[in-house]
């Protein structure tokens, strides 16, 4: 299968999306953007190809193995078990790196013992993260491993009479090392181990397993040929792509939004540090845009900062804000001042739900100003970027759109975070069809 890859290197996350020759999305991958952009790009790309293979497998099962008992549940189980395998591998790397780091400071023995306990428990707990009854969790190893490590290291530090900061420092240094190289793929080996684990849990018969294994091997062996890749996003200049394979995120978000919702005329994208208001025509061609300038208050990072200040998870902010009964008016648009205002309000006894409600409205007021600068909101209106996943933000936006512009169709795709990558992949496909043959950036996967 020929693949057209779009990579969106954002300030917070890096996204990759694969299209086939018919412009159908086949795989998506996401990772946290780290200090090494090349690695982030490669990891997201690998994840997208992996996702493409899982999708192929799912299709193969429903077409050719639907009758086999347990086959229907296999793709989902296999994804989880594969992720588990990947996690265990990375955790092993993290442990080894932590142990090397531990050799560099005082109390080596106590630190080694504490690390041993921490990682042993992390391995034991991994089943809760990836097993059949797994709780929702972050997609990123850094977050998952970090949360577990912090929790366990506190207790281990107390037991071994160590300062917690020592263990924290070891993690901080080691995670950088682990994150700054592309982990080995080892696709065939890892999928085999995952398959065994899944088969056991789903109690697949020997015959069924043999048939399904053949399908798995076929999909693993399927050549996925990366024909053309196009990069976009904040860090696009750092992508290892030639200049003509790099597109501005404005164009990519415009085209991506058009592909998701062809009726789109206005796009609002709120990412980690950018807010973009884009106007497009009926072909997805950008006709005008505005971006936030000199200040990133009101972007995704702002919400991250507020979540930290309130000591709640980023994904908890929206639901909390939705419980507001009397949203507080937040005046400060500066991220740091907003933190001060927040503490002030809390100390005045205001409910944190009401404060969060006000904060979400404040963010959207900034977005509204940018939208009006760009030429207003035309029907249909598509909201993309990480913040579009936040229900309270969407609610606040809907209210403001209605107040200012009247009834508008508001589109939000569950895959909105991939809008930029989708646009980039469409540009990749377009450049391949326009000027074939094109020098490919990648190879066969």
């Amino acid at each position: 299968m020929k693949c057209y890859v779009g990579i969106d290197l954002g300030s917070t996350t890096t996204k990759a999306l694969i299209l086939d020759e018919q412009a159908r999305p086949r795989g998506r991958g996401i990772t946290n953007s780290r200090s090494n952009y090349d690695v982030a790009c490669e990891v997201a790309r690998n994840e997208a190809f992996l996702d493409a293979r899982f999708n192929l497998f799912e299709a193969a099962i429903s077409e050719r193995a639907a009758g086999i008992p347990g086959a229907e549940a296999l793709p989902r189980a296999l994804r989880g078990d594969f992720a588990w395998e990947q996690h265990i591998h990375l955790q092993g790397e993290l442990e080894a790196t932590c142990r090397v780091e531990a050799e560099r400071g005082p109390n080596r023995e106590a630190v080694a013992a504490a690390l041993g306990e921490v990682f042993e428990q992390m391995t034991a707990d991994a089943s809760k993260l990836f097993g059949p009854d797994a709780r929702p969790r972050s997609d990123f190893f850094r977050d998952v491993a970090g949360a577990a490590y912090m929790r366990l290291a506190q207790a281990a530090a107390r037991r071994h009479d160590l300062p917690f900061e020592r263990l924290l420092g070891i993690f901080d240094k080691s995670i950088l090392v682990v994150e700054n190289h592309v982990p080995e793929q080892m696709l065939a080996e890892r999928i085999e181990r995952a398959l065994e684990r899944s088969a056991e849990r789903l109690e697949l018969s020997t015959e069924a397993l043999a048939t399904l294994r053949e399908l798995v091997e076929e999909v693993v062996g399927e050549p996925l040929v990366e024909d053309v890749s196009v990069g976009t996003g904040y860090g696009r200049a750092r992508l290892p792509f030639p200049r003509e394979r790099i597109r501005s995120e404005i164009l990519c978000h415009g085209l991506g939004a058009h592909a998701l919702f062809p009726g789109t005329r206005t796009v609002l994208d709120i990412g980690g540090q950018d807010t973009k208001a884009i106007q497009i025509d009926e072909h997805g061609v950008v006709t005008g845009f505005q971006m936030n300038d000199r200040c990133a208050a009101g972007c995704g990072r702002y919400l991250g900062y507020i979540a930290d200040e309130m000591n709640v998870g980023l994904h908890e902010l929206g639901p909390l804000a939705q419980q507001a009964t009397k949203p507080v008016r937040i005046n400060s648009t500066c991220t740091v001042f907003a933190g001060a205002e927040l503490r002030d309000r809390l100390s005045m006894g205001q409910r944190r739900e009401d404060i969060l409600g006000g904060l979400h409205r404040a963010i959207m007021l900034r977005a509204m100003s940018l939208l009006s600068r760009s030429g207003g909101i035309h029907d249909e209106f598509t909201f993309t970027g990480g913040v579009a996943k936040n229900a309270a933000a969407v609610e606040a936006l809907e209210g403001l759109v209605d107040e200012n512009y009247g009834q508008r169709t508001l589109n939000i795709s569950p895959d909105s975070i991939y809008t930029g990558a989708l646009g980039a992949a469409l540009f990749a496909l377009r450049s391949a069809t326009e000027q074939a043959p094109v020098g490919a950036n990648g190879g066969t996967r």
Partner: protein, 428 residues
């Protein structure tokens, strides 16, 4: 320096003129020359030459400090003595330079003013600026009130009003300070030379209508307007400079060459752009390179009209010297109302066959940045071409965010490219 640096004779000529001017300033006291501080918009150079005075332009010093990477510390010095972060950065840069010994761009100390000639009031900050300088230097001020072209035209009454002030306020002050009597014929002689040079400047600017444009009318343009907008209009040196410049530009047109840039000759003109607003001076070369890298050539700009809108027909008229100076002051770009500015931009987009237009909005300039978003919308409506909008500053390096500006420009140019290729897209 790169081997591709191209120096044409006019560039050397201009450099010598400036060096000579600053040398004269350094020796002004020695030779008993009187020094007048004044501003570029509405500068009365022919009149000042008629009294044998030497002009100093504080905003030119500020932009020079910006280009020489000194403005950051000058601004900090001005903030230390109490000037707010929001004050015009030209003012703060000038005050800081003054506090630092008032050393000019050629390394020589600038003389104190004998007269502060406020010949243009459309920028309210100019008045405040000279108030600060008056306090420091305790010297006379001649103030010329120039009415704003609120209705889009300079009426007979307005011209008479300004000319009368020249007669009753400015000339007597100049006479008083210099001890020289007003000599109408001398001023007329300078104006005659101005006219010739103005014709040549217009020819140079309008050469950008050629494809490829032989000049960059913004980044390159600021050099071309240099002599005309400062101490040299009406001098033989300026006349010779513009004659030379015009012949160089004519030669580039004949050879089908693009503009000369600090990165070398721009070979492939990909985008023809019209720009509103001054350039950023602290990152001038980097800013220019962002255009160069994309093959973007500025074919017309409004900034090159702040010291006179010659391409719309104005010429100094020796037959009515004071009225002509009045018309000049009234007609500067900075004195035009928003609809006139929109018309000018829209005309430029059409007349220069531009692919797009950009507004560089200045963070610390409230006088001219206000209304630019409305202008953008109106120019878009008038031309059917989408505009780009970026924000930087004149000389405060803190307000130039390279990656943001670059991102904005790249996105804008790519949008223009996408627009011109007119591709249709299939939905995924």
């Amino acid at each position: 320096m790169k081997s591709t640096v191209i120096k044409e004779p006019s560039m050397v000529q201009q450099k010598e003129m400036i060096a000579d001017h600053f040398q004269q300033l350094a020796e002004a006291a020695e030779h008993g020359r009187k020094v007048v501080y004044t501003f570029v918009p509405g500068n009365l150079t022919e009149l000042m030459l008629g009294f044998d005075t030497l002009p100093v332009h504080p905003e030119i010093n500020a932009l020079q400090s910006g280009m020489r990477k000194l403005s950051g510390s000058y601004i900090a010095a001005a903030e230390r003595v109490g000037h707010s972060e929001d004050v015009c950065t030209y003012v703060k840069c000038d005050i800081g330079m003054l506090l630092d010994g008032n050393v000019g761009p050629t390394g020589k100390k600038l003389p104190d003013p004998d007269l502060l000639l406020l010949s243009y009031t459309g920028c309210f900050t100019f008045m405040k600026w000279f108030e600060l300088l008056r306090e420091r230097y305790d010297c006379p001020v001649a103030m010329l009130h120039v009415p704003y072209q609120a209705d889009g035209e300079a009426t007979e009454e307005m011209i008479a009003y300004v000319a009368r002030q020249l007669e009753t306020e400015v000339i007597p002050k100049l006479e008083q300070v210099t001890g020289v009597a007003y000599d109408r014929d001398r001023v007329r002689e300078h104006m005659l030379r101005s006219r010739v040079a103005e014709d040549d400047l217009v020819a140079v600017l309008e050469a950008a209508k050629h494809r490829p444009s032989p000049i960059d009318a913004y980044f390159g343009g600021v050099y071309y307007i240099g002599p005309m907008f400062t101490a040299f209009r009406g001098t033989e040196a300026a006349q010779a400079y513009y004659r030379q410049l015009r012949s160089e530009v004519d030669a580039r047109v004949a050879a089908g060459q693009g503009p000369i840039t600090p990165e070398g000759l721009l070979d492939e003109e990909r985008f023809r752009i019209v720009v509103e607003g001054p350039p950023n001076w602290t990152h001038f070369r980097e800013f220019w390179k962002m255009f160069y890298d994309e093959g973007a050539v500025v074919v017309a700009s409004t900034y090159t009209k702040v010291g006179g809108v010659y391409d719309r027909g104005f010429r100094h008229d020796p037959d009515r010297p004071l009225e002509s100076l009045a018309e000049y002051c009234l007609g500067c770009y900075t004195n035009l109302n928003l609809p006139s500015r929109v018309d000018m931009m829209a005309d430029y987009v059409r007349d220069y066959a531009a692919d797009g237009f950009l507004i560089n909005s200045i963070k610390s300039c409230n006088s001219f940045s206000a209304g630019q978003l409305v202008m953008l919308r109106h120019i878009e409506d008038a031309t059917g071409i989408p505009g780009g909008f970026i924000e930087t500053d004149l000389v405060d390096p803190r307000y130039f965010s390279s990656s943001n500006v670059k991102n904005r420009l790249e996105s804008y140019f790519q949008m223009l490219a996408q627009r011109s290729s007119g591709q249709e897209v299939e939905s995924a």
